[in-house]
């Protein structure tokens, strides 16, 4: 079983590399001079989608090998869930790709999936046993449907982002330019997190503190990055480790805040470096890629993804969720933060559809809504687990 688990990890690694290679081919396809309309058959794109399919098969291999090794669907902690979400994102991309044959989608969708897998890998990757509340067939049913729904909805973000990169006139400045640049900056922050976490993990950095928590009990915490902020009445146990001695309120999760500060720091440096070297906005760097994009098509793809993803998300995130909650937690709804954020996601996309269907919010506005929707999904995926404690905060 341990061997199977290790094969599984290798397969995920292979999938990651293949997605990376496929991205390059998709980028080649839109650069190709022969293809001005960005759709239809194209050799670069054919190679790109083939590699994507092999990568997806490899990730499926990771998923089922791990399932067999663990004896339960590998969607039970943050690493597994976010990885699965990335897999569903690739699946959603493949489906949408075969409907619309829109090459440029691959140039943006695959990097988002790559970044998602990299982000997931920063969490503990051990195979963990299931606590009693998770021991149910509904684990696989509920979680996979939610992830699939959120992933399909995320494709609308990808389409929306490409739309905005082409649609917004960067030379004019203004609010839209600022927010578009902010979205890209947010993505660079995630890169900053992955980068700093990987560097310190490779360097083997670790330190420990004792501290007094909110319940006035003395506890030990681990830091995996040099401590820029320390916990309440924290005392460094590890010799030679770095500490600023800047103490935080007991309610603040100091090591987590520390990680956030590092990520922002590295992200900002990264961003400034890009700006300094290129002497352009990050959004401007993407413009050659999107020059030939068909706005009408992107708008349609974005809307279509919401239409396909919304029912799937509703089914998994609300209906299956309620059925399982009734079985495991005695009530179908209990205002747990994760439940509330699923409701918020549902309400948001309901508003999106009403604005689109009845008030004619298309194109630019629709693209912005898709971006906001993705921010809400990410918040529910990540922040609710890490910041707001609740019944769902496993791992």
């Amino acid at each position: 079983m341990a061997q199977l688990a290790s094969i599984s990890s290798t397969l995920l690694y292979i999938a990651f590399l293949l997605y990376l290679v496929a991205t390059v081919f998709f980028a080649g396809s839109i650069k190709s001079k022969k293809h001005t309309n960005q759709t239809g058959k194209n050799r670069w794109a054919t190679i790109g989608i083939t590699i994507t399919l092999i990568g997806f098969a490899s990730q499926l291999g990771y998923f089922f090998a791990r399932w067999i090794a663990a004896g339960h669907a590998p969607v039970s902690n943050l690493f597994e869930f976010i990885t699965f979400f990335a897999m569903m994102l690739v699946a959603a991309f493949i489906i949408i790709y075969f409907i619309y044959r829109l090459h440029i989608l691959g140039v943006f969708a695959l990097p988002v999936a790559l970044l998602t897998i990299a982000y997931a890998s920063m969490f503990p990757r051990d195979v963990s046993p299931l606590i009693p509340a998770l021991q149910s067939d509904w684990l696989a049913i509920h979680v996979s449907t939610v992830a699939a729904g959120e992933a399909i909805l995320s494709v609308s973000f990808v389409a929306g982002l490409i739309f905005l990169l082409k649609d917004i006139d960067l030379s004019k400045g203004g609010k839209q330019v600022f927010w578009l640049e902010s979205v890209l900056f947010g993505i660079i922050l995630v890169v900053g997190f992955v980068l700093s976490a990987t560097v310190f993990s490779v360097a083997g950095y670790e330190s420990e503190f004792t501290f007094v928590n909110a319940e006035d009990a003395e506890t030990v915490v681990h830091y995996s990055m040099p401590a820029l902020v320390t916990p309440n009445e924290g005392e460094l146990l590890t010799e030679g480790a770095f500490s600023t001695g800047l103490e935080m309120h007991p309610l603040v999760n100091a090591p987590r805040l520390n990680t956030v500060i590092w990520s922002i720091g590295v992200g900002v440096i990264l961003y400034l470096l890009i700006r300094l070297i290129s002497r352009r906005k990050v959004a401007a760097l993407f413009q050659p890629l999107v020059k030939k994009a068909n706005l009408d098509m992107l708008d349609e793809v974005g809307y279509r993804s919401v239409l396909i993803g919304f029912p799937v998300f509703t089914l998994g995130g609300l209906i299956f969720a309620m059925i399982w909650a009734q079985i495991a937690w005695t009530r179908f709804w209990g205002w747990d933060p994760k439940e509330v954020w699923a409701l918020i996601t549902f309400l948001f996309y309901a508003a999106f559809l009403h604005l689109r269907l009845s008030r004619g919010w298309e194109g630019n506005r629709s693209a912005w809504l898709a971006v906001i929707g993705f921010v809400i999904i990410m918040f529910n995926l990540v922040a609710v687990n890490l910041i707001i404690a609740g019944l769902h905060s496993y791992a």
Binding site: V127, S128, P129, I131, P132, E300, P311, I344, L355, S358
Partner: protein
């Protein structure tokens, strides 16, 4: 009430935008509006767009507005998010008053949160009002649109006026192509694509998936049923939420069942994963420590016989016998019992020995059931020795005026006043015994009592749940989901073809969404009929910006 009489002679109700017979635009405002906006409800008169005078009109118009509906959704969304900033009142520890908890823990922000009532946001009157407003909006907006839409789609005419065709997004005019043969071929090709085709006087109407237009109205109906189900929770008798704490070995009446059912706890089990259970788990167990594997109460369910006396546990019949686990509730009648909590190792029995101080040897031993101590009789030991409990203080807290006190009936800290009877002291010697405390209040004794072991048992915390609203919620949820799927995964597509006396052919297409799909869908039929694909005017409009690239690629748009 005024009527709008179209040039074709058809009389349309006031407020109509398109003639329901020929499709001509009836008013100047309608002519200026985008085709998509006009087509959304087939240009039908809607109450909210027609009447604006009375109070009822105003209320109706307010709630029928999608703009208002979206605002209501957004406000609810933001309010819901605020409710997750700090934990809600029902998540905080029960032993601290909320007013103190929020301020102590979260400072001034917590205080503001509490004062504004956000600690019970989802149960607040204004949150309920928001949900009710959304419900009202759903009903009114659906009636305002659904009814006219239904009427319009049920009595569609095949032939439409040129102006109607011309303003569609998909539209082309084909000069001198309007032969009967072309029309037949189009009809055949569209039928192959499973369009329902009607042909009248050289005009053709092909339509498919009209039912998808009802998706929103179906899902709104489901939502309303769901909301009604949620309200029924508050009707007495529909909902039971009780807690049953039951000790191992005990039989208790299940609260909420009207004294009808009893449960026996045959034993509570808590299992954790052990290293070696499965080698793949070892690293996690080493990193995080013990991980729970199972919480289980082995339970027997009894039903009281008809002749049983209220409150007694006699005359009962076993109904069910199985383990209650997390995710595996015990279901009976309309109830379900859930494993939700436990207390481990509550003191149950205490064993003592009576020792002779002189020899240090025990003269006998006895066991006290802490829940049912024998206070009226004697614990008989051998050879004329016996012990009598003259005082029992299950939750001993100290002395008040020389009298031992107990703060609760639970054996958290049991203490006893024993009377030790021996052949030397037939009237007994008095000893006060508590945990790590041995007093001889009436003078030096010859004998003493010492602890000789304890027996503990676990307490299962079971939630008793009855929810008669579940089936309504399930019904509403199913209808809702069905409606969402119908509305999202199918599209209403229509093609109008018209031929005129000069053998010109006009083709127009409309769909409520997924234009790309519509174009792909009708392409084979046009090809089969030997016609170019009809133009998508939205695309053309956009392509103007890309004119240079169009030239480079060598494609031009032209029609024969």
């Amino acid at each position: 009430m005024s009527k709008l009489i179209c040039k074709c002679g058809h009389v349309n109700p006031e407020g109509s935008e398109l003639c329901q017979a020929c499709g001509r635009t009836l008013t100047e405002e309608a002519a200026k509006r985008k085709t998509n906006d006009v087509m959304r409800y087939e240009g039908m008169a809607r109450r909210s767009q027609t009447y604006h005078t009375s109070i009822i009109d105003k209320v109706w118009n307010f709630f029928s507005s999608v703009k208002v509906g979206v605002w209501l959704i957004v406000i609810t969304l933001v309010a819901s998010a605020i409710g997750t900033i700090f934990p809600q009142e029902f998540f905080i520890p029960q032993n601290i008053p909320a007013v103190e908890y929020y301020e102590d823990r979260y400072g001034i922000a917590g205080k503001i949160y509490y004062v504004l009532g956000f600690h019970d946001l989802y149960g607040s009157w204004w949150y309920m009002l928001l949900v009710a407003a959304i419900g009202t909006s759903i009903i009114i907006a659906s009636l305002d649109r659904g009814v006219p839409l239904y009427k319009a789609l049920k009595k569609q005419r095949v032939e439409r006026h040129d102006s109607f065709l011309k303003r569609q997004r998909i539209y082309s005019a084909y000069e001198a192509k309007g032969s009967q043969d072309t029309l037949n071929r189009l009809s055949e090709g569209l039928k192959k694509r499973r369009y329902k085709v009607r042909v009248e006087n050289g005009s053709l109407l092909a339509e498919k998936n009209q039912f998808s237009r009802w998706g929103p109205y179906i899902n709104h109906t489901g939502l309303i049923i769901f909301l009604i189900g949620a309200m029924l929770r508050f009707v007495p008798g529909m909902y039971v939420d009780e807690m049953l704490w039951i000790r191992e070995g005990e039989t208790e009446i299940i609260p909420g069942t009207g004294q009808e059912y009893l449960l026996k706890n045959e034993g509570f089990t808590l299992e954790t994963y052990q290293e070696g259970d499965s080698e793949v788990f070892d690293e996690t167990i080493q990193r995080t420590g013990a991980i729970a594997k199972n919480f289980q109460t082995d339970a027997i369910l009894y039903k009281k016989d008809d002749n049983a006396i209220a409150g007694s546990t006699d005359n009962i019949t076993e109904v069910d016998h199985h383990a209650i686990q997390v995710n595996v509730p015990m279901k009976f009648d309309q109830f379900a019992l859930y494993q939700t909590d436990y207390i481990e190792d509550e003191l149950y029995k205490m064993s003592f020995t009576m020792d002779s101080k002189e020899t240090g040897e025990p003269v006998g031993s006895f066991t006290v059931d802490l829940f049912n101590p024998n206070t009226s009789g004697l614990y008989e030991l051998n050879d004329g020795y016996a012990v009598e409990i003259s005082g029992y203080y299950p939750d001993f807290s100290g002395f008040d005026d020389g009298e031992p006190q107990s703060v609760s009936p639970l054996p958290n800290n049991p203490a006893f006043l024993f009377n030790m009877i021996s052949p030397e002291h037939p009237d007994g010697e008095v000893a006060f015994v508590a945990i790590q405390q041995n007093l001889e209040p009436l003078g030096e004794n010859d004998y003493e009592i010492s602890f000789n072991g304890i027996e503990t048992r676990d307490i299962s915390g079971l939630t008793v749940r009855k929810d008669l609203t579940l089936w309504i919620l399930a019904l509403g949820g199913t209808i809702f989901m069905f409606g969402v799927i119908v509305g999202s995964y199918w599209n209403h597509r229509r093609i109008w073809i018209k031929t005129d006396a000069d053998s010109n052919l006009y083709a127009a297409g409309h769909t409520n969404k997924n234009w790309y799909g519509l174009k792909k869908d009708i392409a084979p039929a046009f090809e089969y009929a030997g016609l170019d694909q009809p133009d998508d005017h939205q695309e053309l409009k956009e392509s103007k910006g890309n004119a240079k690239e169009e030239d480079e690629s060598g494609t031009t748009r032209e029609h024969k």
